[in-house]
């Protein structure tokens, strides 16, 4: 199934919201680096996936009805062994069964820390697709340090977007902290701009957080909303 078919299938199933694993699948196809994301529908499966991924792992609820996974207690980080995975699985299921008894989980490797940013796009009522880049990852909304550009965004413009952030120095290096891989972030921005231009069926997409390392960058979580 190509991306357009995936989007059409979700839409014809009456869904407006794409799950993390689905968005990551789309991102991966255009060459955006993501943490792999394996579906598990039982405790046993979760443990099996965790062994494949390698500890420590992250468990996240997977439901088309739950957009904000942390808010509903659907995320467990840094699980070190099978016992912790089983316990986390049961806790997550307990918390979300009221919302979606069909919910599953995804098992993902625990990524190492780095500088967190948010990348996304939205189809603005007046402008059409607009790309966003912001500092702070999950804290982006609190900081409000974001930049917007009309899609399509070329590499030079993406770089300008990153450098126009008030807190750009956090990425450029400060007080002995080496610079983060700006090129890797620019590459993600350009590719997400490409998705926004190619798929008007997608109304909004968040890659949040994106962790930028000294070398490379990695999308840890993502979500998308389809157009009406």
């Amino acid at each position: 199934m190509n991306v357009a078919e995936m989007l059409a299938a979700a839409r014809s199933a009456g869904r407006r919201y794409l799950c993390e694993d689905e968005v990551k699948e789309i991102l991966q196809r255009v060459g955006v680096p993501v943490t792999p994301c394996f579906l598990a529908r039982s405790e046993e499966e979760a443990v099996a996936r965790a062994i494949e991924v390698g500890y420590p792992v992250v468990l996240k609820v997977r439901s088309p009805l739950i957009a904000h996974k942390s808010d509903s207690g659907g995320v467990a980080l840094n699980l070190a062994n099978g016992y912790q995975v089983r316990r986390a699985y049961r806790q997550i299921m307990d918390r979300v069964k009221g919302v979606d008894p069909e919910a599953a989980v995804t098992v993902q490797p625990m990524a190492s820390p780095g500088r967190e940013v948010i990348v996304g796009f939205t189809v603005d009522r007046q402008f059409g697709p607009v790309l966003m880049c912001g500092l702070g990852g999950v804290f982006a909304e609190v900081l409000g340090d974001v930049s917007f550009r009309l899609v399509p965004v070329e590499p030079d413009m993406a770089r300008d977007m990153v450098r126009s952030l008030r807190g750009y120095r956090l990425l450029a290096g400060y007080r002995g902290v080496p610079p983060a891989d700006e090129g890797a972030l620019v590459d993600i921005l350009v590719k997400v701009s490409g998705l926004a231009a190619a798929f008007p069926q997608i109304q909004e997409m968040d890659l949040n957080p994106v962790v930028v390392y000294e070398r490379g960058a990695l999308v840890l979580d993502a979500r998308a909303v389809l157009a009406d």
């Binding site: 957009a67 996304g120 603005d124 402008f127 607009v130 909304e141 409000g144 109304q203 997409m205």
Partner: protein, 464 residues
């Protein structure tokens, strides 16, 4: 822009004949004032007031209907209510009128019923290939044609700046402030509901209008913002465009599921996208006028290095703040420049010699400021000079010195004469006639300088 639209806009801004519909004998009414505006502005073409019963109005013969007018009509301005306007637009079409200005509100801004009415208005205009200014507008002005088809009779000084505004009230604010600032107006249009003519259409028209050198745009919101920024960006490559967008406090109207969606408030997106296309964005009507004034009067500097010569430190700190925040720099002065400054102020003057250059007590004498300004202007890293002087009852302002320095160096100069507008009037007229904008507050001077620096850098100027 299609040739037909261009022709119609020409007929709207430079009509040979104007009909006024809805005109009455009462100065309380909009129609009366529409007619008075046209007469008062000294329009040289033919004016045809239309009223079914009246014989004459404000010294002009009145026609009973559009059909009775013996000659073709280029522009009709319609001052009747929204329902009657529709009927009049039909009549205009049959008469062969090219453009109509529809003043009345009560259309798409008023919900479904109004929207349907506006659709009928647009359909009528399209049927006869007419263009509509408005509806729901104050009207338009073109000083080049002595034309004022608003219901605000006024006489405006001619100039090179044109404004496109989505609000009559803000548009008037800008006009009055511009007049106070000694800034001449070229064209002005209230776009109203933008039924057949979008902001981008006016921009394209003004881009080709040789008498317009600078365009100021006031935006509340538009349907096709993408086209607007693309057109404006294109226009701004050869003619400076200044945008003032309101709605900073506005909350996002839709409930967003993503963080990107919830942070993409329309103001922030608008502002950054305008900047993406190289446009200058300002934050107030005062900054709009200050920016347009500098861009209309002074040449674009070759880089973003600012020099200041003053006799009082405070205003230069305001300049430093406001200009630095907008991308200007204040380069250190070269050794040779310092040498020349010391020749004027002495080897050990009681001031720190740097840029901004504060000559303190010695700077209160205009004669001393001349060689200081020349020295700073000659500095290789300085692209534009701000000359500061506080007007005084007994001391002469350095107008002659500023004129000489400007002429000698060829670099742009902005004068900050701290004063009332009234007291500075004569000096200002002289300086304005020689490419030197004069401001009376440091903020406005800084905004003017920043506008020049913005377009200097946009056009590949030197980034100091």
């Amino acid at each position: 822009m299609p040739a037909r639209k261009q022709d119609v806009l020409d007929s709207i801004f430079y009509p040979h004949s104007v009909a006024v519909i809805g005109v009455t004998g009462s100065s309380d009414r909009v129609g009366y004032n529409l007619l008075q505006s046209i007469i008062h502005a000294g329009f040289q073409g033919r004016i045809y007031p239309v009223h079914p019963r009246l014989e004459s109005l404000q010294g002009l013969p009145v026609y009973r209907s559009l059909e009775e007018i013996p000659e073709p009509v280029d522009l009709a301005v319609i001052g009747v209510n929204q329902l009657a306007t529709l009927e009049v637009v039909e009549q205009c079409g049959r008469k062969g009128v090219k453009g109509v200005v529809c003043i009345a509100g009560g259309y798409k801004e008023m919900g479904e019923e109004g929207k349907a009415l506006e659709e009928r208005l647009v359909a009528a205009a399209r049927q006869y290939e007419m263009e509509v200014v408005g509806p729901n507008t104050l009207g338009l002005i073109n000083t080049r044609a002595n034309l004022n088809v608003t219901f605000y009779p006024m006489q405006l000084p001619r100039g090179k700046v044109s404004f496109v505004t989505q609000s009559g009230g803000v548009g008037l604010t800008i006009l009055h402030k511009a007049v106070d600032e000694g800034l001449g107006i070229n064209k002005w249009v209230g776009v109203g509901n933008r039924s057949t003519l979008e902001i981008s259409d006016y921009l394209e028209y003004l881009a080709r209008d040789d008498s317009t050198a600078v365009i100021g745009v006031f935006v509340e919101g538009t349907d096709d913002a993408r086209r607007l920024v693309q057109v404006a960006g294109e226009v701004a490559r050869h003619k400076p465009v200044v945008f003032y967008k309101v709605g900073r406090s506005g909350a996002v109207s839709h409930a967003a599921l993503t963080h990107t969606g919830s942070m993409a408030g329309s103001y922030q997106v608008y502002r950054q996208v305008l900047q993406q296309f190289g446009l200058l964005v300002v934050d107030s009507t005062l900054e709009m006028v200050a920016a347009c004034k500098a861009l209309a009067m002074a040449p674009i500097p070759r880089g973003n290095g600012v020099g200041v010569v003053t006799h009082t430190a405070g205003p230069s700190i305001v300049l430093l703040d406001e200009i630095s925040l907008r991308g200007g720099v204040f380069p250190a002065l070269a050794g040779s420049t310092m040498g020349r400054i010391k020749e004027v102020l002495g080897q050990n003057p009681p001031v720190v010699l740097k840029n901004p250059l504060d000559a303190a007590g010695q700077g209160m004498q205009a004669a001393n400021l001349g060689p200081l300004m020349e020295a700073v202007l000659d500095d290789p890293c300085i692209d534009i000079l701000v000359a500061v002087y506080c007007l005084h009852l007994n001391w002469r302002c350095p107008t002659v010195e500023i004129l000489d320095a400007r002429e000698r160096s060829g670099k742009p100069v902005v004068a900050l004469y701290i004063s009332t507008g009234e007291k500075v009037k004569e000096e200002r007229e002289l300086l304005h006639s020689r490419d030197i904008p004069v401001y009376t507050t440091p903020e406005e001077a800084a905004w003017g300088v920043s506008a020049l620096l913005h377009y200097a850098l946009q056009r590949g100027g030197i980034r100091r």
